[in-house]
Amino acid sequence: MTAPFLEVENLHVHFAGRSRLFRSAMPTVKAVNGISFAIEPHRTFGLVGESGSGKSTVARAVLQLTDVTAGTIRLDGADVTRVPREAELAFRKRVQAVLQDPYSSLNQVHQVRTIVGDGITRHFGIKPGPEREQRILALLDEVGLAGEFLDRYPYEMSGGQRQRVSIARALAVEPGLIIADEATSALDVSIQSQVINVLRRVQADTGVAFLFIGHDLDVVRHVSDDVGVMYLGYLVEQGGADGVYDLPAHPYTEMLIASVPVPDPAAQAERRALRQTFKKDTEPPSPSDLPVGCPFANRCPVAMDICTELMPEATAARHGGHVRCHLHTSGPVLAGESVVPYIRSASTAR
């Protein structure tokens, strides 16, 4: 087993409510509440969850774009929870990102040459010239763009082409980790699969580790080796991608799976029946006012009394990872097995 490139341990990110003149202090928003995971080189860890689950905050914390409240982030064994200013450049060379919106993540006033070349100049000291040009062309080739794109401006490119440029920009500094934050969510399905294939090829060629963040469990499962399911700042289930998908041990994971419609009317009718067992008119609690017990309890179709009283601890799941759900230790005591048969039988019993 190779040593992990990125280790996140018990990460907390809270945003203090600012108190303003004539206004009472706003409550603290608890965006991330103690999550841990690790990614080895050549591997992809997928983080999946709804908007507001804190998955992008995890990315921003790792990228030093937001302050960590508690916990540790390690890169190749070294602590990078709070990178001092003089070490920032060295840190930036090792962690890169591809961000969600292909339209606003590229500056409209710069050509592809500048967008991709900036990092080369900054980190390798190669000034604009033939050598840098060669490198940029090689990077564009890696992401499947022809050399003519050198002179293009972002507004002259499609969404898929822009995301390829973003990937080339990230690759330019030869990082060990690339964080893809909803990198394919804004694209058409046909284009999404092109970009996913580019990411896969890049990983095979360079061995870069990926933190892949998304809301569509089918996409995240496809690209990831391991996945973590986030809900209101908690990692409620994590494990091997296929294991979590096939044997979901948390009702929320099952809700996510059942929610993605599949392109097959018969199979979809089944998924639809399953998704209808989940409560319709309850919204998740606010991250500034988290309940005492399990945060999913008010939306859970099989919640028990204990769920509203106590936050469940992580227990081992059948798929080899772990899950935070009382069903596995009290009530039906599923002991890490898939939660699907239980939800089905409970919904037919009602």
């Binding site: 908007s51 500056n107 058409d188 699969s193 089918d218 419609p261 392109p263």
Partner: protein, 651 residues
């Protein structure tokens, strides 16, 4: 005038792309005759500033020693007359440009030099530094500009430069505000995050990323503030604390008209005042012109739009009993060089009561355009070039806008992609729900409110009475989309058009929204057209499906047939690219390339360049929509294919 503008447009020695973008700007700028006039005036002003001798025939300081030719009106020798010392007023006005432009230069150097760096700093740093800077700035901003100028004059000496130093400081507060606002907005942009991730330092980000985005608004402000500076300079000179009493400054000249105490002296107001008014006006018009030309979309309005088109006769009959029936619809957009881009061609569809028609395709395939054109909402400069639309058995292709407005909103409900953006942020949700009820029915206000609460309850918004009094920002995306559905339902429409209603929502909320739409449809029995790019959503909600590609219908089928036996290679390719279709982790099948733009549609089959089955025949002959049983397919080779159900084939 027009010579000058074309010369500028053509001579830009930039690379091709940049030159094209830039010449577009200059063309737009000089299309407005007022802007051209303003630019000419400013050019004259600059000429007079650089080489006043070129324009002025006389020495502005040299009077008529004999004092016989004083207070004259315009004549051959003195085009604008003379003043009390017999000096040529026209020459004095020309030389006055020196003072005006110098004033602008001093004030602008001070204002921009102070204001822009401070604004960048304040906006970027935020927090306490920002509060201190803005507090001082607001105090200075609230002081009258003339007062600040006087303060500087008292400290230094009464001269035009020191007055302009004061004006510059006052104007710097405007630039601080502008720069800070732009910086704050740009700082939140993802590309600034991306620059930080690349490892660029804050000064580099400010210089290379934020400043270029500041420039357009800065230029506009400079033009407008320049006008103000001249006016203030003249005011100070008029009061005797700017230029010296002998100088040919416009303000001084106005003041002289007052000091001379003779009725003949009144004429002096006209040349100086005229120059002043025209200059201020020119700067403002130029500022407006620049602002208007920086808009990207302004160009399209220059293209000529055929007002009324004689539509060719439609061969197919409308489907009887259909709520909406479209036949052979085509939409054209005028393109440069008198060409027309046909963004839609030969689109036919119909939808019956109680039925959900799914319309699917990539972005740029014409799904939304079809709906807009059918509802009389073709975006300008586009126009219907062919086709016929029938709604509820009535021919509506060329219905006047007023009659359309009665149908839309009452008989046709619309649900949009961005639920929160589709609501007016300034109005309570209740009022927005009541609006269409009050317009389209004869309900009283209290009845409408009761009905609005009923509607919210119907779309399962908890606590509807309280929610009525909330603003859209208090709704989550899913709840806002329920409000959108409630609004669409308000007048019991016969047809509901949902354009990507779940694309912006979380997957869990998407499922709930689709369930709600199905429930509502069952209860009211209306027809639904569901536009989406997600075949999963189609499988969930549609009865019949229309697949569009590059402005054409390429396949129609019942939902079960479409998924079990897709006939068009495009449909099959769309199904294959979905990650849901694959169990493994290998490469996903792709459709290479992108949907071409309407200007570049291929001659033969429009999908041929991306199709793995394309032959020479596909590239040359135009495929027609052929009937296969009750389904339609636009592919010359469809009979050869036997695409099975997509799933699991290449995993």
């Amino acid at each position: 005038m027009s010579d000058a503008s074309t010369a500028v447009a053509v001579s830009a020695p930039q690379p091709v792309q940049a030159a094209r973008a830039r010449s577009g700007f200059w063309m737009r700028l000089f299309r407005n005759p007022l802007t051209v006039a303003a630019a000419v005036w400013v050019t004259l002003l600059l000429l007079a500033w650089l080489w006043p001798g070129l324009l002025a025939p006389h020495d502005p300081y040299a009077g008529d020693v004999t004092l016989t030719r004083t207070f004259e009106g315009p004549s051959w020798d003195h085009w604008l007359g003379t003043d009390g010392q017999g000096r040529d007023l026209y020459s004095r006005v020309v030389f006055g440009a020196r003072f005006a432009v110098n004033s602008i230069l001093i004030a602008m150097v001070v204002a921009i030099g102070l204001g822009v760096p401070l604004g960048l700093f304040s906006g970027w740093r935020g927090g306490r530094a920002d509060r201190v800077v803005m507090w001082v700035n607001d105090v200075l901003f609230s002081l009258p500009i003339v007062l600040l100028a006087m303060a500087v004059i008292i400290i230094l000496e009464p001269s035009l430069p020191s007055a302009m130093l004061g004006v510059g400081i006052a104007m710097a507060t405007r630039f601080v505000r502008l720069t800070r606002a732009v910086t704050l907005a740009e700082k939140e942009e993802l590309y600034v995050d991306a620059a930080r991730i690349t490892g660029l330092s804050p000064p580099a980000i400010l210089r290379r990323y934020i400043t270029p985005n500041l420039l357009p608004s800065l230029i506009v402000q400079v033009a407008i503030i320049s006008g103000a500076v001249i006016l203030i300079g003249a005011t100070l000179s008029f009061l005797g604390i700017g230029a010296k009493l002998d100088d040919p400054d416009w303000g001084v000249m106005l003041a002289r008209a007052r000091f001379d105490f003779r009725l003949e002296g009144i004429w002096q107001i006209v040349p100086a005042g005229g120059a002043l008014v025209l200059t201020v006006l020119a700067f403002n018009l130029l500022g407006d012109g620049i602002r208007d030309s920086l808009g990207r979309d302004a160009a399209s309005s220059s293209l000529t739009v055929p007002r009324k088109v004689a539509l060719p006769p439609v061969v197919q009959l409308h489907a009887s009993g259909a709520v909406l029936s479209i036949r052979d619809l085509a939409v054209g957009f005028p393109a440069p060089g008198g060409m027309v881009n046909r963004v839609l061609s030969d689109v036919s569809l119909e939808v019956f009561p109680g039925e959900t028609l799914g319309v699917v395709g990539e972005s740029g395939s014409g799904k939304s355009m079809t709906m807009l054109a059918a509802l009389g909402l073709t975006p300008a400069p586009g126009y219907l070039s062919q086709g016929s639309v029938s709604f509820d058995g009535r021919e509506v292709t060329f219905l006047p806008e007023q009659e359309w407005q009665e149908i839309r909103g009452r008989d046709i409900g619309m649900i949009f992609q961005e639920p929160v953006a589709a609501l007016n942020p300034a109005l309570r949700v209740g009022r927005q729900l009541m609006q269409s009820l009050l317009v389209h029915t004869d309900m009283s206000k209290s009845q409408a409110r009761a009905r609005a609460a009923e509607l919210l309850a119907e779309v399962q918004v908890p606590d509807p009475e309280r929610r009525l009094d909330q603003y859209p920002h208090e709704f989550s995306g899913g709840m806002a989309q329920r409000v959108g559905i409630a609004m669409a339902l308000a007048c019991e429409p016969k047809l509901l058009i949902a354009d990507e209603p779940t694309t912006a929502l979380d997957v869990t909320v998407q499922g709930q929204t689709l369930d709600l739409m199905a429930e509502v449809q069952q209860r009211h029995g209306m027809a639904v057209i569901l536009i989406t790019h997600d075949l999963g959503v189609i499988a969930d909600a549609a009865d019949r499906v229309l697949v569009m590609y590059a402005g054409q219908v390429v396949e129609t089928a019942s939902v079960s047939t479409l998924f079990s036996r897709p006939r068009h290679p495009y449909t099959r390719a769309l199904l294959d690219t979905m990650p849901q279709s694959h169990r493994g982790h290998g490469d996903l099948p792709v459709i290479g390339g992108v949907v071409p733009s309407a200007a570049a549609w291929p001659d033969g089959c429009r999908f041929a360049p991306r199709c793995e089955f394309a032959t020479d025949q596909c590239r040359t002959s135009v495929p027609l929509l052929e009937a296969v049983g009750t389904d339609l397919v636009r592919c010359v080779r469809h009979a050869e294919f036997e695409f099975g159900p997509h799933a699991e084939t290449s995993a």
